[in-house]
């Protein structure tokens, strides 16, 4: 569909007249199909580009040797069970259950009543990674940026079992 102005062949060629030098051809190419194709390609690349690079949650853990003594009264222990149930206790009190939805206000209130709060998170090994990330996310959102993790031991299991039966 390129509209090319083809020069008309001179009929009177070779009749003694001087052949006129051909002037610049007026070429007009219809670019619409090209635009179509280019637009298609653009749409393709726009749709396949991944703009949302994954987010990360940064964690700093203390070196192996560091041991910190903490006051029992300032120690908030969160125990997370396999089914996602959350139990909390201060020091050595009996654990109590808290719903995940209520966790953030609960943590904020705890932190307000004791700014020196030290949080210890114990997650049962069979719990999913998602639960753990969610808990850590809630802690971060509640401005508790310093917390520790500890293995969920048999002792914890017994404590929780006692709390449930009580």
């Amino acid at each position: 569909m390129a509209g090319v102005d083809v020069p008309q062949p001179k009929a009177d060629k070779g009749k003694g007249k001087k052949v006129k030098r051909q002037a610049r051809l007026g070429v007009r190419i219809d670019l619409t199909p090209m635009v179509d194709v280019v637009m298609l390609l653009i749409t393709f690349f726009m749709l396949t580009t991944v703009f949302n690079t994954p987010q990360t949650m940064e964690i700093n853990i203390p070196p192996d040797e560091a041991k910190v003594e903490v006051a029992e009264s300032a120690l908030l222990t969160l125990r997370i069970l396999t089914d996602g149930a959350i139990y909390w206790n201060m020091g050595i009190e009996t654990p109590e259950k808290v719903e995940f939805k209520a966790l953030r206000p609960f943590l904020e209130e705890r932190l307000k009543s004791n700014p020196k709060l030290i949080t210890l998170v114990k997650v049962e090994r069979e719990a999913t990674f998602e639960i753990m990330v969610n808990i850590m996310d809630e802690l971060n959102l509640a401005k508790i940026t310093r917390f520790s993790t500890a293995p969920f031991t048999e002792v914890d299991k017994r404590v929780i079992a006692k709390a449930i039966s009580a």
């Binding site: 090209m34 635009v35 994954p54 990360t56 964690i59 700093n60 990674f129 639960i131 753990m132 990330v133």
Partner: protein, 153 residues
Amino acid sequence: MVKKKGRVNIHIDMTPMVDVTMLLLTFFMLTTHFRPPSEAEVILPSSHSAFKLPESDVMTVTITKDNRIFLGLDSQYIRARLFGEENKLKQGIEVDKEALANLLIQARIINPKLRTVIKGDKAAPYGPVEDVMNILQKVKITRFSLVTDLERS
């Protein structure tokens, strides 16, 4: 009487349009990087954290939901050094928990700037994640990140 106008022959010059679209096309072609085929499919958990995953110098420890651990590095050179020439094109290599500590140390010797990220599947149990975190602690990587998706809420 107003004479009805006939069809007007319109010629639009498409050249500037092509210029612009070509520019856009080049931009998108250059910014696109296709998602590299990963060895293990992982569904990420979501969080409110807003830190972006760095593009380069990343060492990824992937934990799948069936408890397998993959170590991925973004540089072909380090992959060739660690896993052998034949494995350098693979994004991640399955590793044992016992071998992980050693590999992490070696990778960090080759490139001390490497940052460690843990990419755990949503449904992966916490146990292996805890083990990996303990290994990291043991090899003195005290700073690492967990890869998550942005929570939409």
